[in-house]
């Protein structure tokens, strides 16, 4: 699987979702401009911010709607092939950055209406997302190269690995001893940008997920036995958003832990059985009982 295909798999749905979100919000603003302002004013009033006034005429609404139409079309056109169409991300970023920064200026120099602040934050975040996508799709960008899992993700992975395979009296091997976190990190890295980025997002989510279960600390700050208990609760949850990342990580942790000869021996799996059969298979091959099977050759020189 080529890397551009890999990163596009992740980015295509993202841009499609963005396009739909722009279309929906643009339509809502257009149809209910005052209602939108009222709703945001209500949120702002909880924070003690003054209410923004309603529109007095519709000229700026026309221009704003035109802008929403443009960003919708841009995101929609990018979505089928983000790597190929990355240049379209640039006007999208310019539009969103301008919208975000002008609102920041208005919030500072005009009045601190919540509607300004919200737009600054949301459009600013969108600039960040599109910028990240733009970098990932660069000809030599992170989405195409091998790429490494970031430091924080590595730490989180280590914490979760410790909870999976803690030291146990009388038993061989533990997560730290076999470098389990590092092995899973390398696995994610080897699967391309999608797995690496998906892994980083999932790890961050798992770190804060204990709050959802009423445990007022992040996963990485819990003692190892409590960490294991919380992960177990998440695994049993009926909520996919809690369960899926835990199940996926357990799959990788199990794979990398129990392929270690020490750990296999520790649980009573003697590889002697397999090794004897591998030897038998080699002998059969040597005797010509099986194979030889075709070997791919270099095609240089094929006509």
């Amino acid at each position: 699987m080529s890397r551009s295909n890999d990163i596009d798999t992740l980015l295509s749905p993202l841009f499609r979702v963005l396009a739909i979100a722009f279309a929906v919000t643009g339509t809502l603003f257009f149809l209910f401009p005052d209602g939108t302002i009222d709703t945001l004013n209500r949120a702002g009033s909880w924070l003690g911010l003054p209410p923004a006034p309603h529109l007095t005429h519709r000229f700026w609404l026309g221009l704003g709607t035109a802008y929403m139409a443009v960003v919708t079309v841009l995101a929609w056109r990018i979505s089928p092939a983000p790597s190929e169409r990355r240049l379209l991300m640039e006007p999208l970023m310019v539009g969103k950055a301008t919208s975000s920064l002008t609102c920041l200026l208005f919030a500072i120099f005009d009045q601190p209406f919540f509607i300004y602040i919200a737009n600054f934050v949301v459009d600013g975040a969108l600039v960040g997302i599109v910028w990240w996508a733009w970098r990932q799709t660069a000809p030599n960008g992170g989405g195409r190269g091998g790429g490494h899992l970031d430091e924080r993700s590595n730490q989180l992975l280590q914490r979760i690995a410790e909870a999976f395979l803690p030291p146990l009296d009388g038993r061989a091997g533990d997560a730290e001893g076999i470098g389990l976190g590092g092995r899973v990190a390398a696995h994610l890295e080897s699967q391309g940008a999608g797995a690496r980025i998906g892994g980083a997002v999932a790890l961050r989510w798992l770190n804060v997920a204990p709050f959802v279960l009423g445990t007022p600390r992040t996963l990485s700050r819990l003692p190892v036995d409590e960490r294991a208990m919380v992960l177990d609760r998440m695994e049993r949850s009926r909520w996919l958003i809690l369960r899926t990342p835990v199940v996926a990580l357990k799959l990788l942790l199990g794979l990398h832990a129990y392929r270690q000869p020490d750990l296999r021996a520790d649980i009573g799996v003697d590889d002697d059985w397999l090794n004897a059969r591998l030897e038998q298979a080699r002998a059969r091959r040597a005797a010509g009982e099986k194979g030889p099977f075709p070997e791919p050759q270099s095609p240089d020189g094929v006509s």
Binding site: S2, A163, L168, T244, V269, L274, F293, P299
Partner: protein
Amino acid sequence: MACLDGAKLTRNHRVRCDVVIVGTGAGGAVFAAEAAKAGLDVVMLEEGGYYTGKDLSGDAKFSFDHLYRDGGLTATLGRPPIPVPVGCCVGGTTMVNSGTCYRTPDFVLQRWEREFGLEGATELDNDYAAIEQDLSIKPVPDALYGPQHQRVEDAIKELGWAGSRIPRNEDGCISTGTCAMGCPSDGKTSMAVSKVPEALAAGATLWTRAPVRRILRHRNQVVGVAARAGTPEQPTDLLVTAETTVIACGALHTPALLLASGIGGPWIGRNLHLHPATRVVARFPDEIRGWQEVPQAYNIDEFIDDGVFIQGQFVPPDVQAPVIPGWGVEHRQRMAAFPRLASFGALISDRSAGRVRPAGRSTRPVATYRLQPADRDRLIFGIARTIEAFLAAGAEEVYSGVAAMPVVRSRTELARFERLQPPATQIEIMAFHPMGTVRAGGPEIAASDPWGRLYDVEGIVVSDGSLLPTSNRINPQLTIMALARRAARKLVAP
């Protein structure tokens, strides 16, 4: 005969042939062998590399990296997301499957013929028999049959249920116990060591590591395919033009490739069936050492008519670990009993149907699938029957794969388990049999005719699990092969 490594192609290359076949799994390899033996000039294109026993040692990580697609993590989106591992190597998923080979039950074939217009579905006997002979398919012999299956067999006899030893495609299996990781002894007659060499010996050409990116068409006629060869740093194009193009990429990748190439029609990508499955693990008081026997050797036939089939499914500890309940110390203690574990899988014939679309303009499939409540109930029924069989066989505790009640120790607890009605999201589901996404049959309800020829365009045939009109109620590879053989013979002698 030529067996070429596409990754080593350093300049663009063009080939012309009678038949180009994309994918070398169950459907593609059988088609290739038949067509080549009939004297056609055949070119096979395969995305993955060529591995046989000499490259394999039963190591799961190696297999996930080299034999499986996406490191084994291919999955559908939906409630719940379901992992659907598929092979990506010469031989396709037959390289990593358990070797179970069943004919589709007659009542299903009759329905395909009657309701879906799949002409000749009930006349596959010759094709079945030929494949059974070629791949040396036979029930597991005593020498390879071990205690995990024997115990369950004894127990279900006591329960009065029907069951039987599984027929497998093997010729000299020495029971390494690592079928799902690729057979290190070449005892399993996967396509890589049977039909692909047969096609090559009959004069076909194989390009490995040559993923097809587009199907080429001129107006309403498909004229070949374009593959990406070379390396990511120095990519090259491999263009193959042919009278007939056969797409055999499996039920997830075939519709994605067709749709990404602008070949549509109302049925392509729809009707995805998976045979959702779950693994149930049991701990016995004494040792079983399940890794020392054929992992899938016995089938509980009793519930096939209800759409449930239950089969042995032992896997090595690195693959078993995730389904053992608990984390930390609890998990380690359970793993320490590994030599005493047995495991069976319950699979259901699903009525839920998903859909496959390509991701953007790429050929990568995005599969969506939502498990319907009736299928969830059937899955729970299958798990419950598996637990019942294990308890009857003397298991101390059974790991259900259902998060709402992961451990069952007695019949009383089993009764409670059956009343649970957990949401599908709490069931450990996997699927191994994607099918149905380019279904074959009559023109009103199918994408292709009974021989896999697409209705909407000329010069193209589909030959893989996509063709099955519905779930076939049992492991599908033999039926995929039989349909492929029949389709190839139709091409050769219309």
